[in-house]
Symmetry: C2
DNA sequence: AAAACGCGCGAAAACGTTTTCACTGGACTT
DNA sequence: AAGTCCAGTGAAAACGTTTTCGCGCGTTTT
């Protein structure tokens, strides 16, 4: 017997409307309904209208799982990020989701907190849900990920790291430009002792940023002692710890560049905690330009990487590869970066300033300081 | 003819393993395979082992959509939040996801940026994906949401707002306790002019916080003039604007309580921008205790609401209602709040302090100020 | 005027599962 | 010793779609 006990809806028979129900109401076959819904032009205008009316009056919503099952398209995209707690990622997700939804996709977020075991789980879940592609925004991936995903052939987009397998695209961020801008900015202000707080070594992009820094400083004739490059974790805690390490140095830097904004905010905290004023005593520069960077104290000078651009590129790359026009593949997507000068950078003339550093007062960006007290 | 052109896998015939393939390899019927996979005890140990081996060697992963289609269970839970950009929500999501995944669920995030049109879209998408329940963590919902979701009978969990329809649960947060603690803390420090920056009026929980504040201040004999209650938007911008409004008052408050941490951070920013020191000139208290609150300058005194507890409660409520044991329904889940004292609150003796405010120096929480200059 | 064509539509197969039902054989109960 | 029961299994229905195939019919081509 059919189980009838679950009739706790409003009215007993009021089940969710079927494609069959719509077909019946419109006096056509279910095939025609399907075609109408999917915008297949092979259905007569009049019929189509009748179907649409029937569907509307019944409140018909096609069943996604059935759709996915038969068509093989889940209309799901995976997004792998490393740490949802880092505001950059929510911003990225927001942009990406917006685009995805506009194109009829749903997104599935996988937050691997740098934990390889979690990563595997995330991948398995994505595979199980049959994602049609995944954007690996984790800024550098363990090889295992790649293998696991590549074995099924789901299209992949990475940041920075560029595997040469087919069906994979890489977004390449132009770290150089922004970082060189930042170094120049610091140099013009008169900084000579510039430190860098890097990200975890496993993150490809963290390494790239680090290299860009080293390259950039050397280019302007600065030699950076190894103790000026300290490793953070791309987190607030990491930034704080790294900064404290830096301050314990016999000759601490007058400026600190960070591999991301969270690190920079941690640095700000550590500086304040140690009685140092930013920017008078130390200048600080972040990376990412998360929204909150505008609101730190002082507002953070940082290198912007448009997460909108990132999202757009990721999506279109994914889509291109998913469509199967693998031919049109290896366009490289370039993500630009750019220095945003706010108030965490200035001429070094405070506690940490040194006599051998020539002051050049003219370079300070003129910014109004509302109601500054004395 | 069957289309053969899509054989771009490694080896031509190497499709993703079927349940049929497993059955064939194990020499049983697909029914047995299904039973084995799903842990149905009605299958003999030996047979089960054979099946499991076959499955493993074939790398079999059951197809989620097919599963969902026939069983009617999507193993998806919706989470509605209002603003993914507010760090509280990522933290909440992280906790919730962890629990959900541990129990075999996937989560689908819907970020309604307070936009009713978006909300509808989110709901539709969740409904279409057949979520088995949704946790509405948006802290107050437009009625339309409720209707739309309630019409299908998917289990719902809300925060604060408690609809009495069946299948719905409400988590109730004890705002009173934390807020009274905060007010007391301020009062003991000697504050008499305490302002409140509320959240948007559409958010139920924002209103509750506001009321708790009003109640709390009255309780200790303070009367709050209406201009001391100003409306924010639960964003950084809103906090800044509201604070500026407050500072334009002929007699500005010496302490500002905020409806959430983002607002408080905005306030910190506005204060600094106007040359006011926190906490000497103004004390600031937030709400939520997001992770970053520990890293603001100064570290933010705030009212903690455990998002872990929130997540756990939400999940178990959802699960209880989903299971159908509607009988065991109306347990009220209580979420506690608690004041976390950091360094954004102190005795009011700065620019805004008033002569009619008695100083009581002993109440300042003794916290070490590392390496404080001068 | 006959043949060819194409348009609009319906019947039915397929997608990969879960679950019901019926069937077997052996172990109990009487 | 016969009947009853139960554990283990398989066949097949169902889930709600998309899509292929074929069919009628009106229109164009030869």
């Amino acid at each position: 017997m059919p189980r009838q006990k679950k009739s706790k809806s409003k009215r007993p028979g009021e089940k969710r409307a079927d494609i069959r129900a719509v077909a019946a109401k419109a006096g056509v076959s279910i095939a025609t309904v399907s075609r109408t819904i999917n915008g297949n032009n092979k259905v007569e205008t009049l019929t189509a209208r009748r179907v649409r009316e029937a569907a509307k009056s019944l409140g018909y919503q096609p069943n996604t799982q059935a759709r996915a099952l038969v068509s093989g398209r889940s209309h799901m995209l995976g997004v792998m990020i490393s740490d949802i707690t880092n505001p950059f990622f929510p911003e990225l997700i927001q942009s990406f989701e917006e685009i995805a939804v506009a194109n009829g996709y749903e997104i599935m977020i996988g937050s691997t907190s740098h934990d390889p075991r979690l990563i595997e789980g995330v991948i398995d879940r994505m595979l199980q849900r049959n994602v049609e592609g995944v954007a690996v925004m984790t800024f550098g991936v363990e090889a295992s990920v790649l293998d696991r995903l590549a074995s099924r052939d789901v299209p992949l987009v990475f940041i920075d790291v560029a595997p040469n397998a087919p069906g994979m695209a890489a977004l390449s961020v132009d770290y150089r430009f922004g970082i060189e801008q930042a170094i120049q900015h610091l140099a013009v202000l008169g900084h000579r002792r510039i430190a860098f707080i890097a990200g975890p070594r496993t993150l490809q992009s963290a390494v790239l940023r680090e290299n860009a820094f080293i390259e950039g400083t050397r280019q302007i004739g600065l030699k950076t002692p190894p103790e000026y490059i300290v490793r953070g974790t791309h987190t607030l805690e990491g930034g704080t710890k790294a900064m404290e390490e830096l301050l314990r140095l016999p000759m601490p830097p007058t400026a600190v560049m960070c591999s991301n904004d969270m690190t920079a905010i941690g640095v700000l905290h550590a500086a304040a905690d140690n009685g140092l004023r930013v920017p008078e005593d130390v200048s600080v520069i972040g990376f990412d330009d998360v929204h909150i960077a505008r609101y730190t104290i002082p507002p953070l000078t940082t290198i912007q990487m448009s997460c909108k651009t990132l999202a757009v590129s990721a999506f279109s790359a994914l889509r291109a590869h998913a469509k199967g026009n693998v031919q049109s593949a290896p366009e490289r997507y370039e993500i630009p970066t750019q220095l945003i000068v706010r108030r965490s950078t200035a001429i070094p003339n405070g506690a940490l300033a040194d006599l051998n550093t020539p002051l050049q007062r003219q370079a300070l960006p003129s910014r109004r300081v509302k109601g500054s007290k004395s």
